[in-house]
Symmetry: C2
Amino acid sequence: MSRTALKSSKLLNFANIYQSLSKRYASKLVYKEYGDPVKVILKEEDPELSPGPKEVLVRMLAAPVNPADINTIQGKYPSKPPLPAIPGNEGVGVVEKAGPEVSTIAEGDRVVPLTANLGTWRTHLVLPTSNVLKVPKTLGLVEASTLTVNPCTAYRMLRDFAPLKPGDTVIQNGANSACGQNVIQICRSWGIRTVNVVRNRPEIDQLKAYLTDLGATYVLTEEEIRSTKIFQTEKLDKPKLALNCVGGKSALEIMRYLQNGSPIVTYGGMSREPLTVPTSALIFKDIQAVGFWMTRWSKENSDSVERLEMFEELISMMTNNDLKGPAYEMVKFDNYSEALMNTMTVKGMIGKKFILDFS
Amino acid sequence: MSRTALKSSKLLNFANIYQSLSKRYASKLVYKEYGDPVKVILKEEDPELSPGPKEVLVRMLAAPVNPADINTIQGKYPSKPPLPAIPGNEGVGVVEKAGPEVSTIAEGDRVVPLTANLGTWRTHLVLPTSNVLKVPKTLGLVEASTLTVNPCTAYRMLRDFAPLKPGDTVIQNGANSACGQNVIQICRSWGIRTVNVVRNRPEIDQLKAYLTDLGATYVLTEEEIRSTKIFQTEKLDKPKLALNCVGGKSALEIMRYLQNGSPIVTYGGMSREPLTVPTSALIFKDIQAVGFWMTRWSKENSDSVERLEMFEELISMMTNNDLKGPAYEMVKFDNYSEALMNTMTVKGMIGKKFILDFS
């Protein structure tokens, strides 16, 4: 046996041991009824998985806990997976085994599962190649595992509702949200100016500095936006697009500054107040109040060129450091309850993302 | 001189006398400041008008007083004509003289002025041929003089916001409004079913019968729509389009029944309450809250094929008796104050249109 063959054989051997070890410990989180996540979520062993001819076996590396995951488990989210269900919508993994007919993805490739409600909170899953996106290893684990919801939501809202060009203005509330931070960075990258509204708070100067550092053109509190003169004094065009994740008065305030014929796109309702639109804004200003839900878009565009272009552009922004992943904390898979509780009680300036770490 | 020639000469003579008489008495209404229409509107003599090479001199026959005319005179409407201004947006007249280069329109033709804020409350006006629509004499004066606002608003809202086909459902509030009645009749003509919501009132049975007679599929009060089971029991598809001229709770009620991905189009706000849209309706049901303003559409489509097709189809419906003009009362031009006051204090089951009569 040559040295190379020996080395290779040893490596294979090591890989086999590793594989069998990780298989032995294959496990998943699961819930059999809707309810309080900390109570209804259980950890179970998972049967040994093997990919079909056109499938890959993925060993998960990281999967975030999103607020929508919590709502889904509570049964409060519109898309209700049949029970029992494995939670988790996002994540990144490594291909451990590829089926014999798989040619586009190889073992060792890093991949992001693409379909919603696949259940990413488990150590291993088998997916058809059409349901995974190969991502470069230069893409950080945090960025890769949180790619498909917030960055994509920000990207689509900026692409699909108004014909934005460099120099144009976008206004948003809840600008410190995970999605809001993506909006700021994508706009900076595209030369679009952003007016960012946040709630007042003790550490407001720190928050303003943080968002300005991300690329925000202006950051104003809810009180400041009401009487701002920036559209008169700053040679700033009125916004062609408003993004709303708050609702109520906050939404009304950002809507007020829109150019005639522009949309306000709602993707969240943190105030729990509905959107209120003056009749005159609809009729005479031609303001359009619409909504955006990434889950629906992905379902309707699963095979579209636009989707692949989006991933390519976002990943390129991320690897160029133009788009940062969220503030985060890795939590060992075994300590999943901690990640659930922290996500449910999240406080502070920037919502931190808790990411399950399967290593 | 033959008898025919004599007759013809007499007629011509009569026409000349008539023409000079009517010219001598050419007059207009005018306002020099915004305010209470009864106070600020004055009647003045108008100088003798003569058409340019590509213009026609139109002698007005009838011109309605619309609520928007009142708001314009009060200075409360978004489109503010420079002062002094001649009020009136709609009407029908007869071409008294055509300029030498006019070939498409002849003296004696009946025409409808097409541009907003032309000022139709006057006995004579000169218009470029591009600003008039020739209408058949079989079209009633009432229908012709009220063609360009309410029927066109109804037509465009039904054409431009949802891909409606026979058997589909449209829901609307304020169904007894002038526009609402047009919606009912156009839908009947196109095979579209309508769910019509009106306020409860002592003569509700009479109103329901009136609207059903116009072609309404269902007529329900604001209270009845809240708990209706027609979408479960009547083999009635959920609406693909909601039309709102009320706002507030009424709008919320009709929005509730919309199919996912459908628009609610606001064209009025009679309750003076804004539109309230639940966040979940925007995000998860993909409901789009938009507005429609006929004035803007006409401005943006002044030369469009769609506009001519619309007039053709509406006039054809009207001459076939598929589309009736509004309930109305003719008021002699001299008694214009009466028409203004009655429009401002309009009450009753069906808003009656007061039409200035220049004969």
